[in-house]
Structures are given as C-alpha cells and as structure tokens.
C-alpha cells in the first residue's frame, strides 16, 4: 500500500538559504505524524513542499500515490493554518469558512447545493461548533478557531490533513479537546501531519514523530524521538547530557 504522504530527498532553497536538505518522509495512511523542530527548522517549508507551494530543487513529493497537484484538485489535501496567518477580523462567519472547504466540489460560481450544506453542518457538528456557526470567525476562542479550520478540512473531505501549530495559543483544556478530535479523525482513516513545538501533546496524539532541523534528525515512535539525546541534537543546546531537560 502506498504512503499517504511521501517526500523523497527533497532539497528546498530560498535564495542562498537551504531550508530543507535532502529530506525524506513517509507517513502511512491512517497515522498521525508529529513534526517537531525549532522555528526556522523547516517545518513550514516541509508543509509548503507537500502542498506544492515550494518547489524542491531535487526530490519528489507524492500524496496518496499521486502528484501533489492531482491530490489538491481532488480535494484530498486539507490545510489548517497557523493562527498568525489568519486575519481574524475578516468579515466571515464560522459557517462561511467551513463552506470554503466545499468550493472545490462546486461549480465556477461556488453556489452551494444541498449536499454541500449537509457536509458543512456535519463538519460543524463533529467539531462541536454548531451553536457557534453564525459567529464571526474572530469571535471564537483559540481552541474553537482551530476547530473551525479542522471543520473546513472535514467538510472538504480531505484524507490527508496538514495542521500547522494547532496547539499554539490554546489553553490546556482546549488542547485536550483538539487532541481528541484529531484522534477521532485518525480512527476514521485520515492521515495527519501535525507540526508543533509544544511537545506535551505528542505522546497522546502521535503514532510517530519526526524531528527536523533542516534535515531529518530522527523519525520513529514518539518515545524514541523525544529522548533527551535526540532532542539535544535538534535544539542544539550546548550542555552536558540531559541537563537542559531537568531544569
């Protein structure tokens, strides 16, 4: 069976800067992969590469066995943006945002049909946002905002979800709610690539973890990747073994 997300030997440069150095990742369908690394470690670039927004100089990308562009056209790739990338004052309601997940299934005018509305209501219900659907998107709490974008990906019918820092700016209780929601998606067969620099949710959520620092430092079960020695290499703190983690 082919991998849900497969990146082989991808090298991405921005001008002189080497953002990804020969990165290979393979995530099997129905698994949650945590993408760990510091700011500037290439997490966003890896997302852009899978989405087809960054073109690798070398290497290739496959999503569910097809080229990224083909997967996008079929609506198989869902993207949940970082909070900082969203204009929360934008005059759209939660329901409007979720409906945008359906646009790829509609005609040129993007006029919703009954099945589109049904998919939106279903996605709102699954993310527990039905009562908040008529609110302006910025009138939600941090955790609810994240769920609204997950709802958009559900309405879209995406099989592979890329989530950029879903736990940033979210309180502890909402973190657990989001983790539960993502685990439900996994049980339903979705594949998730979740970037985070909050390591606390990784053991509960992820089947595997990938530690990135321009190149792949480690990829494997979370408990292996979260070993102090391994983390030390990625976060590059010059200190004696394990000392940074006991502080």
């Amino acid at each position: 069976m082919s991998a849900a997300i497969e990146v082989q030997g991808a090298t991405v440069r921005y001008g002189e800067v080497l953002a990804l150095d020969d990165v290979s990742v393979s995530v099997r369908p129905g698994r949650v992969c945590g993408l760990l690394g510091m700011n500037g470690s290439g997490k966003s670039t890896l997302f852009k590469t899978v989405l087809g927004l960054a073109t690798p100089d070398r290497g290739r990308v496959r999503v569910l066995g097809m080229k990224s562009a083909a997967a996008r056209r079929k609506g198989l790739l869902g993207y949940v943006p970082q909070s900082e990338q969203v204009d929360w004052a934008f005059p759209v309601r939660v329901r409007d945002v979720v409906m945008m997940g359906r646009y790829g299934h509609m005609g040129h005018r993007r006029r919703p049909r009954p099945d589109d509305r049904e998919a939106v209501e279903h996605a709102l219900a699954r993310t527990d946002l039905t009562d908040l659907a008529d609110r302006q998107i910025g009138a939600l709490s941090g955790g609810q905002r994240k769920r609204a974008f997950v709802a958009r990906a559900i309405a879209q019918g995406a099989d592979v979800l890329l989530l950029d820092e879903p736990f940033a700016g979210v309180d502890k209780r909402s973190e657990a709610t989001i983790t539960d929601l993502l685990l439900q998606l996994r049980r339903a067969g979705h594949t998730l690539l979740v970037s985070t620099h909050d390591l606390s949710q990784v053991p509960a959520l992820c089947d595997e973890a990938l530690l990135l620092q321009g190149r792949v430092i480690a990829h494997g079960p979370p408990e292996q990747v979260l070993e102090p020695d391994v983390l030390l290499e990625a976060f590059g703190v010059p200190t004696s073994k394990g000392a940074t983690w006991t502080r």
Partner: protein, 291 residues
C-alpha cells in the same frame, strides 16, 4: 414648510440641467462599482495598489486623446501594464513591493505629464487629474456604463472565489484553485474600475473611491454581504450629495464627492456601534473608574 420646499428645490433645480443629470448618472454608476470593489480592496489591503494603478493610467489617457481612440482603451492598457510591471520587478529584484509600486506609478505618471505637455490644447490636464464630470460626453458615458457592467458581472460571478482569495489564499491553492489567477482577476477588475471612476473624480482622487466605502462599511459590520450593501449606500450617498453640493457652491465635483465619503467615514469611525472610537473610549473609562 419653507425648509421642505427649499430642500426639494435644492435637488430639483439642478436636475433641470442635462449636464447635472449626466454627471449624476456617471457619479452614481462609478460610485456603485467602486463601492463593490472597495470591499475586497480593504480586506486585501490594496490601497497603495489602487493609488498606483490610477496614476499609471495617465499616459494611456493622453495617448488615447492623441490617437483619437476611446480613452478607456489607453487607460486599460496602462492600468494593466502597470500591474504587470509591478509584478515582474517585484519578483525579479530584492526591492520590496511598496517601493516597486512607488517607482512604477510615479514613472508612468511622469510620462503622462510629459506627453500631455506635447498634446494640442483640447485635452485639459486638470480635467484628467481632477475630473470633469459636469462635462462628460456621450461616448464617455457609454464607456462608463459598459465597463461598469463588465465589472459588476464578473464580480457577481466570482465573488465567492475572490473572498476566499482575500481570506485564505493558501486554502485556495490547497483545493486546486490558483490564487495567482484570482489575484490577477482582482487586479484586472481594479484597473477597469479605476478607468470608470476617473470620469467621476479624476485620477488623483480615484483611490478614495475604491477604498473609503469599503473601509467605512468595514467599521460597521462583521458580515461581508452587509459590508457590500453598506459600502454601496455610502458611495451612492456621497456621489449624489457631492454632485448637488458642487452645483450649488460652484466648486469641484470630484472634491465634493470624496469629501462626502470622508465625512461618512468619519461618522462611522467615531460612532460605529462596536468599532466607534467614542464608545470604545467611554467603555475604557468606565472600566477604569470601576476598578
């Protein structure tokens, strides 16, 4: 009763003149089209782009007069050309976009100034720069109506995609819709709208027409559909009151229209139920006093 009569006459007397009727038609149509587009301009943050495109059309307008072509043709060529030029220089140099915009539009505007000084006297620079809506010709009106209809039709057809592009271009890309194409479409609509609006208020004030109505409406609502309606109401109100005020006071029509828009923006800025600075100040003071 006298005040009512005076108020009615304030509107009816000017309407006896055909040139006022024509000015009103052009100003209202231009106001409507600009209002619609201004909602996306406000949300995408393209006010500088609006300024750039409007100034860059000057050489096109002058060349059209020289060659005896419809002014809209030259304006469109230079409006679209300036957008393309800005895009190319931005992508192929390290200079930041706002600087590129500054270079391109001033250069084209300067070219227009040089050209206009070589053109026989029937083209009046001040009319192009500051508008001459009281003297629009039949062909001018026809061009305005046709272009306005084109913009409104395209927006009606593509408004959901344009909003998706304004809100989240990465999502558009992720579902296989090319955000570059939507950006190009919006820029094209801007270029055409600028050409419509400069008949009403002239090149220098066009940017007001494509920003102020949307910005005003944005202060008053959290719903995009309402934002469109409010922007249209603001813009048409300003166009109508601007034309009549300029008639009675014998002052610049474009100036009056834009001043009326600015006045409406100021009212929204101060008194908007949720966003108004007066209320926000009062709420903050009340909270401080309670503390």
């Amino acid at each position: 009763m006298d005040t009512v009569t005076a108020l009615v006459e304030w509107f009816t007397v000017p309407m006896q003149f055909e040139f006022v009727q024509r000015a009103l038609l052009v100003s209202v149509v231009a106001g409507l089209v600009c209002a619609v587009l201004s909602c996306w301009m406000t949300l995408v943050g393209w006010s500088l782009m609006g300024d750039a495109v409007s100034h860059a059309v000057l050489p096109g307008v002058v060349l059209s007069y020289m060659l005896g072509l419809p002014f809209a043709l030259g304006a469109l060529v230079f409006g679209a050309g300036s957008v393309a030029l800005i895009g190319v220089v931005n992508r192929t140099s390290r200079v930041k976009e706002d600087a590129v915009i500054g270079v391109v539009f001033t250069a084209l505007f300067a070219l227009g100034l040089v050209l206009v000084s070589r053109v026989p006297s029937q083209t009046d620079l001040s009319h192009i720069l500051f508008g001459n809506v009281l003297g629009v010709s039949d062909t001018d009106i026809l061009q305005v109506l046709v272009l306005a209809a084109v913009v409104l039709a395209v927006v009606w057809y593509k408004h959901r995609d344009l909003t998706m592009y304004a809100f989240d271009p990465v999502h558009a890309h992720a579902i296989g819709v090319n955000p570059r194409l939507l950006e190009t479409l919006l820029l094209g609509l801007l270029a055409v709208t600028v050409v419509v609006a400069l008949q009403a208020v002239g090149i220098v004030l066009v940017v007001a027409m494509v920003i102020i109505p949307g910005a005003t409406a944005y202060l008053l609502t959290d719903r995009f559909e309402r934002m469109l309606l409010i922007a249209m109401a603001v813009s048409v109100t300003a166009s109508v009151s601007g034309v009549f005020t300029s008639f009675h006071l014998n002052v610049s029509t474009g100036g009056c229209i834009v001043l009326a828009q600015a006045a409406l923006f100021t009212v929204a800025y101060l008194f908007s139920p949720r966003q108004g600075v007066l209320w926000r100040g009062r709420t903050a003071r009340a909270l401080r006093n309670r503390a």
